[in-house]
Amino acid sequence: MWKNTKLKYGLVTKVLHWISALTVFSLFVAGYWMVDLTYYSQWYKTAPHWHKSIGILLFIATLLRLIWRFYNVSPANIASHSKNVKLASKLVHIGIYLLLIVLMTSGYLISTADNRAIEVFGWFEVGSLGELFDKQADISGFVHQYVAYSLIALSVLHAIAAIKHHIIDKDETLKRMIK
């Protein structure tokens, strides 16, 4: 039930997947909205604080997710999928993981460019590694923005593909991530 089997995803994988999906989407909306807040908005300080706190927690969850993935069997490919579908889904999955890692790393680098730590809801702090390269906050900010757009685009593609498998192909693709 907890672990993956050759046939289906376990509960841990499913829960981590859906929490990640919800969190990534929420952080994207929050990030898109908060960068245009005026200085006098009551959210001006709170929104970035939550965005960063949740981002750090998502990073920890993603590390656990990757560890779990590598110490667990993955369900076999669905037999009815063509070679191209198998390859495409593999590439999209790898792409999403890579973008997630780059996105969270770049976010971390924006806020820690001046030796400040990131405070996670006042529970604990993630320390700074200092300014690792010139113009760190600006370059990381640029990367964070465009990688976020890319991740959302790829996630939408991923979701459309899942829905297509469910409705048009009527196969197990989406079902085994839910049931």
Binding site: Y39, I110, S111, A113, D114, R116, A137, D138
Partner: protein, 186 residues
């Protein structure tokens, strides 16, 4: 006799040299100069920062102060208020828009002698692609030979800049500039 004449000429030339305006280069290498700013933080306190990268030259003649000149170029991306996130915001198109306007520049047009080492330096200040007249109230701090074979002259100065005058999207009122300039004679 000829030797004496030569010596006399040299001495006269040396003595007379302050008559001519001397040219100075701002000592940014040794960081004996700084361009600092202060802005009011919502009426609670004062936020201070500076521009770390700039260069400039000036000429100054004790006997003809009004002929003095100064030019300063500021790398706008070097803004530093000791907070990476804020500096990133100040560099964005809400304020300095450093990708479009990478330098700010002050070129003096008129220098008035206010006596007792005080000067009023009027010039064109260009920032964010907009040029406005700016007056810097300057005070000569000191001059003389340094221990390392050079000759130095320094000023402090203050000026007030209205953010609205320079077309910033975000406008938090006026910014006070605190300037400390030390030049090494060329």
């Amino acid at each position: 006799m000829k030797k004496h004449l030569l010596a006399a000429t040299l001495i006269t030339a040396t003595l007379a040299s302050p008559v001519y305006a001397a040219n100075y280069i701002i000592d940014n290498k040794g960081a004996h100069a700084s361009i600092n700013f202060k802005a009011n933080h919502m009426g609670f306190s004062v936020l201070a920062g500076r521009f770390n990268t700039f260069d400039g030259t000036f000429s100054y003649d004790e006997n003809n102060i009004t002929a003095s000149k100064i030019t300063v170029n500021i790398d706008t991306s070097s803004v530093d208020s000791n907070h990476a996130e804020r500096d990133k915001h100040v560099r964005s198109d809400d304020f300095l828009d450093v990708n479009k306007f990478s330098t700010a520049k002050f070129v003096s047009t008129k220098v008035e002698d206010k006596a007792n080492g005080k000067l009023a330096i009027t010039g064109n200040f260009t920032m964010h692609g907009i040029t406005k007249s700016l007056v810097i109230d300057a005070v000569k701090v000191g001059e003389g030979k340094d221990p390392w074979g050079g000759y130095r002259l320094g000023f402090s100065g203050t000026a007030t800049v209205g953010m609205g005058d320079f077309g910033f999207k975000s406008d938090f009122g006026t910014v006070e500039l605190d300037l400390y300039i030390e030049g090494i004679r060329k």
